[in-house]
Amino acid sequence: MKKSRKVILVTVPLMALILFSAFTQLSGSSIFPSASAEDSSVRIIEIRAFQFGWDPEVIIIDAGEKVIFRVEGDKVVAHGFYIDGQDFQMYIPPLETVDVGPMVFNTPGKVKIRCSVTCGPLHPFMVADIIVEPNYPYFAFLISSIAVGGITVLYVKRGPKKKMLGVPLDKEIDLLKIRVIGPILKKLLQWRGIHFALILPNIVVFMIVLSSGFFGNPTGNLNFSVAVVWILWLTAVEFMILFLGRTWCTICPLPAFGEWLARRRIYSMPYLRKPFSLGLKFPKSLNNMWGSGLGFLGISLVVPWLVTRPWVSSMLFAALIVLGVGTTLLFTRRYFCRVICPANSYIGYHANISFFAVRSKDKSICDKHIAKECLRGGPKGHACPWVTPYPGGLSENTWCGQCYECLKSCPLDTMTVKYRMIGQEIDEMAVKSKKRFGMAWTGFIRFNLGIFYELVFFGSFWFLKDWGNMGINFGANLFSVNLLSPTSQAFMNWVLWALIVAGVSLVIYPAVFYGFSSLARRVAGDTTLSTKNDVFVPFSYALAPYGLFVWLAFTFNLVLVNWAYPISRFADPMGWAWNSSPLMPIEGMMFAWSPIVPDMLPYIVIPIVLLGLALAINSTYNIASKLFGDHSKAFKSTAVMSVLHTAMALVFVWIIIG
C-alpha cells in the first residue's frame, strides 16, 4: 500500500503536468507577431514540400523562439502549409517559395506540419514534426507510461480475483431484460427480417463504394470508396468492436449475396433445407485464424495503395464478394467469414474483450437440451452459419458473427445478449486454447501494425510512406505512379517495406514475446508448464485489449484530422467536384479541411493506449492466475510481461510526441 501511495504521489503531479501542458497548448503559440525576415532575432527555417513529405521532416525549435518558415514549393503540384493548432493555412504554389511567419511557439511539445491542399494519393499523410524544446510533455508521458505499468503491477500484486481494473468481472447485464427496451430488442432480433433490414442500406452504400472506386476521382480523399471506408468505416468498426462486439459482421454485405443464393431466399425460412451449394467439407487444417490473419497482413503489404487508390479498394471489395459467393457455393456456411475475410481476424480476435456478447442465459439448460437447434437449425432459424462449435455453450466471441440465428431458432429462449466488463472471459478462453497459434499471431500482427501505421501515416518519416507506396526517393513520380510497372528501385523499396511489415509482425515481435513468456515462466518458478505449449499463446491474449486500444488511438488521429473528407463525399461520392453546387463550396468539399484539436491529439491518444496497457497487464494477471493457479506465480510472471507491454507503450509515446 505504501508503495502504491508513493507511485500515486509521483503520478498525480505528472498527470497534472500533462494536463497543464495540454491546456497551455490551446494558447500555445502566436503567429505573425510584428517582425520581418530581415529581423536578426528571427530564425529562418527552410522547408521544402514534395509528394508526400517535407524536407526536413523534423524541425527543432526552442520554446519562445521567433521563426519564419520559408516554404519552397513542389516542382509538380501545389501544397498547403498548415501547423496544428494554428489558425491559418497557406497555399504553396508549384515552383514558388512562400514565407510563413514570423511566429513563436511558446508551449513545449510536438506539433505537426500538414499539407492542407489535396496533392495526390497520400496527401492526408504528408506531415512533418515540429518539436518545441524542451519537450517536457514527451518526458512526462514516458514517465506516466512507466507509472501506469507500475501501478497496474502493484494493483495485481494485491491479488484481485475475477476483476479488471477494480471492476468485478462476474457482473453483467442481460440487455433483453432491460425494461421497455429489452422486449423490443428481443422482438427485433428474433424477427427473421432483421438481418436483411440491416444489410440492405449497407448494400446501397457498398454499391456506391464499388462504383466510386472504379469510376470516381482517382485521388483517395476525394473519392467515397477511400474517404468513407478507410476513415469513417475503419473508425466505426474499432468502436463497434469495443462496444458492440461483432456488430459489423451482422450488417456486413460481403457474405450476404452468397448466403442468399445458398439458402435460395433472402430472409424467410425454407420448407426443405436443401441449399444451393455443393456442400463440400471444409478442410479442417484451414479452419482457423491463420487464413484471415495472414490475409490482414497481406493487405498491410499494399496498404498505402489500398487506402489511397480508390480502384485498388474497389478491386479488393469486388474480389471479397466473389470469394464470399464462391466459398458459400462450395461449402454452404460462412467459411468465407471464418477463414478468409481479412477483417474477421481482427474483429473476431478483439471482440473477445468486447463489452457485448451473445450468450446462453443458462448453459446447463443448453447442455441438457438434446435437439440443440442453435447448432443444427430448426423451423424458426438456421443452424449457426458461422459453424460455431456450439452456440449454447459459447464462451468467446471469436467465431460468433452475431447473426442472431440462435436467438431465433432456440425454442427454449435461452440465448440472449449480454453487456459485461472487458476481459470477462479472456482468462478461461486463453487457458482453453493453448495451441491456437493462429490467434496469437493475429494478435501480434494487429498490435504491431497499429503502432507501425501510427509511425507511417502520422509520422514524419516520408521515406516509409514512399517505400510502401512503391515510389522512388522524394516521390518524383508518385502522383501518377503506375503500380503495375514500377521502377526497379521503387520495387526494391517496396520489398524493404514488405520485409519490415512482415518481419516485425511475424518474426521479431513474436520472438521477443516468446522470450518474455519464457522468462515469465521461469521467474514464476513453474517447471510443470512449457513455454511453447502452455504459456506463450495464453499470454498473447493480453494483446486483445492492448491492440484494440492502440487501434482506437490510431483511428482517433485519423478521424479527428481528416473528418472533412468522408463527410464531404456523401454529397459528391464520385469526387467529380460538383463544387458549383452550394453543397460543395470549397474545392469539391462540403466542409473545409479543418482538423479538430490536432495539437491536443497526443493528450487524447496516449491516455487511450495507456488504458490499453493497464488492461493488458491486468489481463495477463488474470490469465496467469488461471494458468498457474497460484497468486505468487501469477504475479511474478505478470511483472515480467508488464516490462514488454510498458516498453511498447514507450515506443508509442515516442512515435506520438517524441
Binding site: L272, R273, I370, A371, G378, P411, L412, D413
Partner: protein, 140 residues
C-alpha cells in the same frame, strides 16, 4: 413393411399427452383436428425430405424440432422454459422420423406403404389420446 417400435409409440403418446394435449383446449376434432397436427406435418416433411435426398440424421433432428415447434404453435406459445418438454417431444419426433425414413429407404419411397405406416402411428397416438380424454373425464 417395417413396424414402428411399440415402446417408442408409447413414449411418443405420453410426451404428446403430457406436454401437448393437456395444454390444448377442450374442443377439437380427434381424428382430423389439431391433436395430430404436429405429427402429421412432421410425417409430411419426412417424406419430402427423403424424396429430396437430404441427410437422414440431420433431417431426423429437424423433424423432431419441427414437431415440437408445431406443438408450441398449437398451444399458442413461441417458447417454453421446460427443457424436459422440449426433449420429450423433439426426441420422440426425431426417433419416429428416423424409423419412417428407414421405412422409406426399405420400400424405396413407396408412398402407399409410407402412408400405411403413418396411419398406423396416428391410430396408436389417437388411442393414447382417447385414453387420456377418458381418464381426464373420470378425474374431473
Amino acid at each position: 413393411m417395417k413396424t414402428i417400435d411399440a415402446a417408442l409409440l408409447e413414449k411418443s403418446g405420453d410426451a404428446l399427452r403430457k406436454y401437448y394435449w393437456s395444454k390444448l383446449g377442450e374442443s377439437g376434432d380427434v381424428t382430423h383436428g389439431s391433436q395430430l397436427k404436429p405429427f402429421s406435418e412432421m410425417a409430411n416433411y419426412v417424406y419430402k425430405a427423403w424424396a429430396a435426398h437430404l441427410d437422414k440424421l440431420g433431417e431426423s433432428f429437424y423433424a423432431g424440432s419441427l414437431m415440437f415447434d408445431l406443438c408450441l404453435e398449437g398451444t399458442g406459445r413461441r417458447f417454453t422454459s421446460d427443457v424436459d418438454e422440449a426433449n420429450a417431444i423433439s426426441e420422440s419426433g426425431r426417433k419416429l422420423a428416423s424409423q419412417m425414413w428407414a421405412q422409406l429407404d426399405t420400400s424405396k419411397g413407396d408412398l402407399t406403404a409410407y402412408k400405411g405406416m403413418v396411419a398406423e402411428i396416428e391410430a396408436s397416438l389417437l388411442e393414447t389420446y382417447a385414453l387420456y380424454k377418458e381418464k381426464k373425464a373420470i378425474t374431473s
